[in-house]
């Protein structure tokens, strides 16, 4: 397997109130936009699309920091990403549409 240098990118996600005050609960989706998994992530790795003091039942769209090589899988238009942590339900790697990612 070719090893390529990874770069930081920001991927769309859903952000909920975490447990500790310095973290969020982040929910990411798979390529079909179905829920892939949940992970607790420190706040500085997450950006909220709207500033909000999250209550237990709140969720807002946001972006979570991932790592990617920006290499598209042949024919699929999908890009592999490495999440900042392993999700509770699945692993740490998934392929997502390129337009889910931004540089900032």
């Amino acid at each position: 397997m070719q090893t390529l240098p990874t770069e930081t990118a920001w991927m769309k996600c859903k952000v909920l109130k975490g447990m500790f005050s310095t973290e969020y609960l982040v929910v990411v989706n798979d390529r079909n936009d179905n829920e892939y998994g949940e992970m607790f992530v420190d706040k500085f790795l997450v950006k909220l699309d709207q500033e909000k003091d999250l209550g237990m039942d709140d969720s807002v769209p946001g972006r979570v920091r991932v790592r990617t090589t920006w290499q598209k899988s042949e024919g699929s238009g999908l890009i592999s990403v490495m999440l900042p942590a392993s999700t509770i339900q699945n692993g740490r790697y998934l392929e997502v549409p390129e337009n889910w990612l931004t540089n900032s």
């Binding site: 990874t6 310095t22 592999s80 339900q89 790697y93």
Partner: protein
């Protein structure tokens, strides 16, 4: 893989291959020095999470649906006030965190780490993690500790006390994400 000596841990901090914020320095919480021969002590943060009694639910470990959301509801947050302590009773389980934020960036000669308890506290019956002590390359954040007192007498916890040790290891190669589609439909190791 090799374990870093204290001098190599300091070199890694200087080079940015390991980030610990605030950087460990001798002072309160660190008796003399935070460094042992092959580890560095991390301190207990004031914020803890305590399981709520009497919850009439169960985690389905097989399905894992909504586990993250549920976890937030079966604990209550608490803070050990400055200058005060908390007695961890026999068989009491709480979640805690390190004061320090740890970062293991994906760079050339990158590093991984693991959390271990401190032997002095272990003799008193304190466990600070049950499983998964590994801190992966690319990790960024405070470390969550699963703490339980397996002794027969309470253990007094003070924010800022040395609570665990970080052991840092070299990584062979540079981690990258798995190219999932490359292995899709693979039947044998040969393809």
């Amino acid at each position: 893989m090799a374990v870093l000596s204290n001098t190599e841990i300091i070199r890694a901090l200087d080079e940015g291959r390991l980030v610990i914020e605030p950087r460990p320095e001798p002072g309160p919480g660190h008796d003399g020095t935070p460094f042992d021969s092959i580890s560095v002590d991390l301190r207990l943060a004031p914020e803890i999470y305590v399981p709520i009694d009497g919850m009439n639910i169960a985690f389905d470990a097989g399905k894992k649906i909504g586990v993250g959301k549920t976890l937030r509801t079966v604990y209550k947050t608490d803070t050990i006030p400055h200058g005060q302590t908390k007695a961890l009773e026999p068989c009491e389980f709480i979640l805690g965190r390190t004061m320090e934020t740890i970062k293991l960036p994906v760079v050339e000669n990158c590093l991984a780490a693991r959390i271990e308890g401190r032997s002095s506290l272990a003799r008193q019956g304190l466990i600070v993690h049950f499983t998964a002590p590994t801190i992966h390359t690319d990790f960024s954040g405070q470390i969550t500790l699963e703490m339980i007192n397996l002794g027969k007498i309470p253990i007094i916890l003070t924010p800022g006390m040395g609570i665990c040790q970080l052991i840092v290891e070299t990584v062979v190669g540079t981690p990258t994400q798995a190219r999932v589609s490359q292995f899709q439909n693979q039947r044998t190791p040969a393809g």
